[in-house]
């Protein structure tokens, strides 16, 4: 590098540039907060949905599935599972309940979590809420 470009100049670019973009990032974050009420389906968040999110987390569902495309890639996307299952929370509950405890020979299988009826209903409501978030038309089709 040319000797006219000094270490002090490089340092100033580092501190100045970083600070500037941190401020821009915070500004966009503020703007995102203002836009969220139109996008994040917050009116659907009930106590039951909050419990459903806890059930989702405390059984580590993200360890196999993706939710809005984030998570593990071992099992299907669940952000739109409510639609894929025909808009039925009952179908979601039925699927989770019917998983065999010993799995399926030679194949991937969801564990049997032995959830209570209350937990099952809450989890299904949580997935219904997630399906209502405005994701800019992602995923591309119903298969997730």
């Amino acid at each position: 590098m040319s000797p006219t470009f000094t270490k002090a100049m490089a340092r100033n670019i580092f501190y100045g540039g970083s600070l500037f973009f941190i401020l821009v990032f915070l500004g966009l974050t503020f703007q995102t907060h203002r836009a969220w009420p139109e996008l994040d389906n917050r009116e659907a968040i009930t106590e039951q949905v909050a419990l459903g999110k806890r059930v989702w987390e405390e059984n580590n569902c993200i360890g196999c599935h993706t939710l809005l495309g984030e998570g593990a890639y071992f099992a299907p996307e669940l952000g739109n599972v409510y639609h894929r299952f025909g808009g039925s929370t009952e179908a979601i509950i039925g699927f989770i309940k019917s998983r065999p405890a010993e799995g399926i020979a030679g194949r991937r299988s969801m564990p049997q979590f032995n959830l209570s009826d209350e937990e099952l209903a809450a989890l299904a409501e949580f997935l219904k809420y997630a399906a209502g978030i405005n994701t800019a038309n992602w995923p591309p089709n119903i298969q997730g």
């Binding site: 966009l28 987390e57 984030e70 890639y73 071992f74 564990p111 978030i133």
Partner: protein, 464 residues
Amino acid sequence: MQYASQAVAKPYFIAAIGLFVGQILFGLIMGLQYVVGDFLFPEIPFNVARMVHTNLLIVWLLFGFMGSAYYLVPEEAERELYSPKLALLMFWIFLIAGALTVLGYLLVPYAGLAQMTGNDLLPTMGREFLEQPTITKVGIVVVALAFLFNIGMTMLQGRKTAVSMVLLLGLVGLALLFLFAFYNPDNLAKDKYYWWWVVHLWVEGVWELILGGILAFVLIKVTGVDREVIEKWLYLIVAVTLITGILGTGHHFYWIGTPTYWQPVGSFFSALEPIPFFMMTLFAFNMVNQRRRNHPNRAAVLWALGTAVMAFLGAGVWGFLHTLSPVNYYTHGTQITAAHGHMAFYGAYVMIVLTMISYAMPLLRGRQAAESNRTQVLEMWSFWLMTVSMVFITLFLTAAGILQVYLQRMGDQPQPFMVVQDNIALFYWLREIAGLVFLVGLVLYIASFFIGRNDPEAAITQND
């Protein structure tokens, strides 16, 4: 080794390597579960194996970063570490907390672990990479604060260099951003938004400062190039890293209920994120070409150059591949992401820790500068086996990902997820075979610490 207190780095490096082995074994279990779905079911279901695989990675890299800092900072500050005792105490706390957490994952159903550790009081569990019980997260914060205090006091009382400043800024950023792991709102869009403040701003932000600092330190040592030149490069690289990487966070805000302006913002800035990695490659090769001496530790030089190349390929090229929002619309949450994740973590963070270990471990074990030729040859074999097999793991996952995207999301007849998984199983088998080769490389790597110990040290040559 110039200062006696640098020796505290040694247990950190040993623990890092031990946990690395665990990480790879669980990776192989998961890889097999991809094609033999009922392997170890229901004893170790996939989600548990994955949690152990990713959490061990994070923990061993943190051990590696801390060990690197304990070795590097005294030498840069030109004084003993502020408190070696505190460093050793934190080592044991971190190791025991980490071991208990992993045992908890393996021995207790996750919901039971959540209940035992009082997740209801402050729910933070069950989010990708942040699966640790809340109490473990508190432990991580305590260890990080004690570590930063120790490192900060050492620097404060000694020489302050650009290398140690950049490293410290990276480590402070790591600790501060981790605090967002405690924020877990019921609102899923918000939860995800701030989750990325930990995950993205770690690996595509402050961790790159740690990477740059360690790489600059090792290059100063092994090339003898003037510090002024190296530190100028370092400042410039980390400047471009944060200038592109902070707004580059936007590439995670395309499809999670966030405003659509994140699509152009995230696409533009994240498309520039390969630049600092390319600069790092130029930097490393330039410095080695301009070397003022031939360091006898050729293995360390190989790791340093390898880090620069593989970080550019894994984080830079494979990141760019799916970062533009029209592309990401199809690739989001597929094996393409997994392919990128593997080579980026290996190339950038695994390799920089192994670079530092390669440079420092001979000195920590009483050598003047390097291990014997026999030891180094073995270590270099392990470098090539692990690196080449990781390239193949990435290529096979990329092939699987392209097919998955086509069959599930782009073709005329989109197929269900599980049907597609069956159709691309061949590539998962090939990935598993490449993973076994990686394990062979790892075994050789560990063997290199025991073979050739009694041989004479590799010769020092001052000039070509």
